[in-house]
Point group: C2
Chain length 145, copies 2
DNA sequence: CCTTGCCCTCGAGTATACTCTAGCGTTTAG
DNA sequence: CTAAACGCTAGAGTATACTCGAGGGCAAGG
C-alpha cells in the first residue's frame, strides 16, 4: 500500500504545504518518487513521519529533527548518536514540563485571588499600594494623569 | 526603591532589548519615566513583570499577555475577564503538558529499542523491511541507488 | 480529447518574537 | 569639564516555521 501526499496530509494532520516544507528541509529523505516525480509514501514512511511528529510535538527544532533523521538513514552505526540526541531532548522536555508546572502554580495563585469573595477589595488595595509607591518615588502613575 | 532598565534586565534574565520590545508591544504600560525619559521601575512593576514572565514561560502569546495587562490596568471591573483569560490559558497549558507526556512515552520507547542489547539487529531488520516494502511497490529506495 | 483534480518546484509572503544598529541625549566618576 | 557608561527611539535585520501563489506537468472520467 502506498499513499499520495494528500492522503498523508489527512492521516497526519499536517498540511500538504507542511509536508513539502519538511521535505525541502531534509526531514523526509526516505520518501520515494514515482515516474512522474510525485512523492509516494509507504507505511514505513508513515511510521517515520509519526516519529518526526513526536519530536515536533515536543518542540524539537527542525534542525535537530533533520539530524536525527540523518542518523536513521545512516544505519546502525549511529545508534549511540541517536540515543544521545533523544536523551538530551528528553531531558529538555522534562525541564520544560517542570517549568510549566512551576509557572502554572503561580497562575493558580492568581486565579485563587480573583476567585476570593473579597477579590475586589484586594485588587483595590493593591492598586492603591502601587500608586503610593510611584508617588513616593516622585513618579507619575498611569492612574493620576 | 527604583530600578533602571539594566537592573531589571539582570533581575529578570530578560535582555534590555526584550524589555524595551515588551514595552513597545504594550506589555509595560505601568512603567513610569523620569524627567529624562528613562524608564524607572518600582517593586510593584517588578511583580507585574514577574507575572508577565510566568505567562511567557507557559507560552502565552504577547497579544494575549497584552490583553491581560490591559485588564489589570483597567481596574477591578475586569476581574471576571482576567479569571476567564487565565482559566483558558491554564487549560491550554494542561493540554500541552498532556501532549508532552504522551509524546515523551514514544520517545522513551525509541530509547528502549536503542538500549536493547540487540538494537543493531533490530535496526538492521527494520531497514530490510523498509527496503522490501519499497521494492514491493516498485519504488527506488535511498539505499539502492 | 479535454476538463477537472492532483502533483510538482521555486520563490515570495506571513507571523512571531526577538535582536541589533544608528544617531543622539543624560549621568557620573575622575 | 569631559569621557565612559548608560538611556532613548526608530527602524532594520534575524531566526523559525510555516503558508501561499504562479506556472506548469500528469491522470482519470465523460
Amino acid at each position: 500500500m502506498t499513499y499520495s501526499i494528500k492522503e498523508v496530509a489527512e492521516k497526519t494532520n499536517l498540511s500538504i504545504y507542511t509536508l513539502r516544507y519538511y521535505d525541502k528541509q531534509g526531514l523526509l529523505p526516505f520518501v520515494s518518487r514515482n515516474a512522474a516525480g510525485y512523492r509516494t509514501f509507504t507505511d514505513s514512511d508513515l511510521s517515520l513521519i509519526h516519529t518526526i511528529c513526536c519530536l515536533k510535538n515536543t518542540d524539537m527544532k527542525i534542525k535537530d529533527i533533520r539530524q536525527y533523521i540523518a542518523y536513521c538513514m545512516a544505519g546502525p552505526d549511529t545508534i549511540e548518536a541517536r540515543k544521545q540526541l533523544l536523551r538530551r531532548h528528553k531531558q529538555e522536555v522534562l525541564d520544560k514540563q517542570r517549568k510549566l508546572t512551576e509557572n502554572l502554580q503561580e497562575i493558580d495563585y492568581k486565579l485563587a485571588v480573583y476567585s476570593n469573595p473579597h477579590a475586589r477589595d484586594i485588587i483595590d488595595q493593591e492598586r492603591q499600594a502601587v500608586t503610593a509607591e510611584k508617588t513616593a518615588n516622585q513618579l507619575a502613575s498611569w492612574a493620576n494623569q
